[in-house]
């Protein structure tokens, strides 16, 4: 019941942001729209807010919020770092690449966490997901420049660190 209330509040907040001003009639219409939204999302997708539907204590939830901020920070930091590196390649006179395809096995179980890890991999310096195998849980990844084996091990360790953070949130 508490979790349903939380999803209700989140959707209502989205409606109020779109509306632009708070009024009694706007609020009443928002509750109606939220009920319609919950019906439609129940019809098509059972586990929409899976993160919020799980049961845990108060102290654990604060730790989870800390890790959520960590992951969002990693998102934006990785985006800027990788963009700087790729744009350095763009303005070189003779750009030289050493691309490589590789496969990495994850230990994550939930589907949302796999999705978020794939978004993070798309943003870490010079990686791109080509395919995902659901049976073996293998990502097929294309890397833009890997000069030596040490650098490859370093980057694999980076992905492993992100994986650990996401596992703290969802599992």
């Amino acid at each position: 019941m508490k979790k349903k209330l939380l999803t209700f509040i989140l959707t209502l907040a989205l409606w109020l942001v779109f509306a632009g001003h708070i009024n009694f009639s706007v609020f009443l219409l928002g509750t109606l729209v939220t009920i319609i939204c919950s019906i439609i999302s129940r019809m098509f997708a059972a586990e929409v807010f899976r993160l919020l539907l799980m049961n845990y204590e108060v102290k654990v939830s604060f730790v989870k919020i800390y890790y959520i901020f960590l992951v969002v920070g990693a998102f934006i930091y990785d985006a800027f770092l990788s963009a700087v590196r790729v744009s350095k390649h763009v303005f070189e006179i003779n750009p030289s690449f050493s691309p490589k395809t590789v496969q990495i096995k994850t230990s994550l179980q939930n589907l949302p966490s796999i999705m978020i890890l794939s978004n993070l991999i798309a943003l870490t310096p010079g990686t791109l997901i080509m395919d995902f195998n659901i049976l073996n849980k293998n990502y097929f990844i294309h890397w833009i420049d890997v000069r030596s084996e040490d650098e490859a091990a370093l980057k694999k360790a980076l992905i492993g660190k992100h994986e650990k953070w996401i596992a703290k949130i969802f599992e």
Binding site: F18, N23, V33, I40, V48, F132, I134
Partner: protein
């Protein structure tokens, strides 16, 4: 000979496009410099807010001054959906397509509540902010389309029956006409909301502008159901 011919054909197309662009440029230049006094548009701009109660001028033209034209546009979608559902075969032919990975499935599931809230907001706030029935209907129609390309045609038609879609579309069309008939009962023209003084209210609030929000809602339901029906029947034909 054939190579010269090929080069000539390529340059012929480029030259045709350039000629059309220059022609349109001259036409727009002529339209800018015309000396016709625009009584009607100046009337809409100066008096539109007081007469209809809607801040969004496009909505006030679309649903109040020219409401009858909007009815005609909505009929086009109704005719297209009816014709397509009449012509499609009963047996479902599966259309070939690339399989999506599980990552895309998961993203689409997360996006669906966002789309519902955005579409509803565009419909209900059509008279005080940019948007309206047509755009909101398109956003709402994206949900069945996403479900169709995600889980296949069978799952989508099991959840949302085609009969229900055509019923929703009929409710939208008939509701629009019934709301228009209210103007006649009030002693004015067909589809009159501003002239018949249906509680215009203060411009800028949610409940204002007479009949315009309800007309928006009807158009939104109709466009959403119609576009979903059209997409599903096009996919089914294969």
């Amino acid at each position: 000979m054939s190579r010269v011919h090929k080069i000539f054909r390529k340059f012929y197309k480029i030259g045709l496009v350039l000629f059309l662009a220059i022609f349109l440029l001259f036409i727009f230049d002529e339209i800018q410099n015309l000396d016709i006094k625009r009584y009607l548009s100046e009337h809409y701009i100066s008096e539109g807010v007081q007469e209809t109660g809607a801040i969004n001028l496009v909505t006030s033209v679309l649903y109040d001054y020219r409401g009858f034209d909007t009815l005609g546009e909505a009929t086009v979608i109704l005719t297209a959906a009816a014709t397509l559902s009449f012509m499609t075969p009963i047996k479902k032919v599966k259309m070939l397509g690339t399989e999506f990975t599980i990552i895309i499935y998961q993203t689409i599931i997360i996006i669906i509540p966002f789309l519902v809230v955005l579409g509803m907001n565009l419909i209900f706030f059509g008279h005080i902010s940019p948007g309206g029935g047509f755009v909101g209907g398109v956003i709402l129609a994206m949900i069945p389309i996403l479900v169709t390309i995600n889980y296949g045609i069978t799952f989508s038609e099991n959840k949302l029956k085609p009969n229900h879609k055509s019923l929703l579309e009929g409710i939208g069309a008939i509701g629009f006409i019934l709301l228009g008939l209210l103007g006649i009962f009030a002693g004015s023209n067909f589809l009159a909301s501003g002239q018949a003084n249906f509680g215009l209210g203060n411009p800028g609030e949610l409940i204002s502008a007479g009949l315009i929000p309800y007309l928006n809602l009807m158009i939104g339901i109709k466009v959403g159901a119609g576009l979903a029906a059209i997409f599903n029947s096009l996919i089914k034909e294969g």
